[in-house]
């Protein structure tokens, strides 16, 4: 019972913070594959390092424009980094 309530409260808190988003490990791996730091990606895209960090940790849900800019900076497609389905979650 306690675990259910704990999970519900965490999800409710995440929704309040802007939506329940899981960690984006594919962004992190794509960035590592290009040997770029968060700061370099942030400068290439035109945002702060804090924003890139929040996207990777699932604390922030970026706009489509920011997603496209990140994909262009990393030479990836939106599907490869941001699309989620059963096989690619």
């Amino acid at each position: 019972m306690y675990n259910i309530l704990d999970t519900m409260s965490k999800q409710y808190y995440s929704i309040l913070r802007g939506g329940y988003v899981s960690k984006n490990l594919r962004l992190k791996s794509a960035r590592a594959a290009k040997d770029m730091s968060q700061k370099e990606v942030a400068e290439a895209v035109g945002v702060t390092r804090q924003t890139v960090n929040a996207i990777e940790n699932g604390d922030y849900n970026p706009s489509v424009w920011l997603c496209i800019a990140i994909c262009k900076a990393l030479n990836k497609t939106l599907d490869q980094i941001f699309w989620e389905d059963d096989d690619n979650a």
């Binding site: 802007g18 730091s37 968060q38 700061k39 942030a42 400068e43 895209v45 035109g46 945002v47 702060t48 390092r49 804090q50 924003t51 960090n53 929040a54 922030y60 970026p62 706009s63 424009w65 920011l66 800019a69």
Partner: protein
């Protein structure tokens, strides 16, 4: 690069969202604090004279807003190095002019007592604002752009 800087200064989209959220909270905090002040005054509780109490509530709300946006990393945004210093100095100058102008208006309207040393307090507040702006900018810029991946 994203073309969001014209509308929102140099803040990115997450910083703008944080600012909006914190701004809304501070607005309601200010709104209810002023209402509470009026309510208490009607019921015999008067902790300060009317203009000063409003001024103190406004200053507290503004201070809370400033601390929250600095802690959220939404005080300064991303800028190229060539623009950074120019914009910072213009912002600093504008802040000081507005602060001193506001204080002059307050002092001219005799809100405070006559015995208050105006020139000394103005210079003190001038330097206090100057130092605080520099400190907050440094903290926020470091919070935004440094750290480990």
């Amino acid at each position: 690069m994203l073309n969001t800087r014209n509308r929102n200064g140099n803040l990115d989209e997450m910083q703008v969202q944080f600012r909006n959220k914190i701004g809304n909270q501070c607005f309601f905090m200010l709104f209810y604090s002023l209402f509470l002040g009026l309510f208490l005054k009607d019921h015999g509780v008067q902790w300060a004279d009317s203009p000063i109490s409003v001024l103190i509530i406004m200053m507290l709300s503004m201070g809370y807003y400033l601390i929250r946006i600095v802690s959220a990393g939404a005080y300064v945004g991303t800028l190229t190095h060539s623009k950074k210093n120019t914009n910072f100095m213009v912002g600093l100058l504008a802040t000081m002019v507005i602060t001193i102008g506001s204080l002059l208006i307050i002092f001219r309207t005799n809100i405070f007592k006559e015995s208050f040393n105006i020139s000394y307090s103005l210079v003190s507040i001038f330097f206090f604002v100057f130092i605080m702006v520099i400190v907050f900018s440094k903290i926020s810029r470091r919070k935004n752009n440094q750290g480990n991946d």
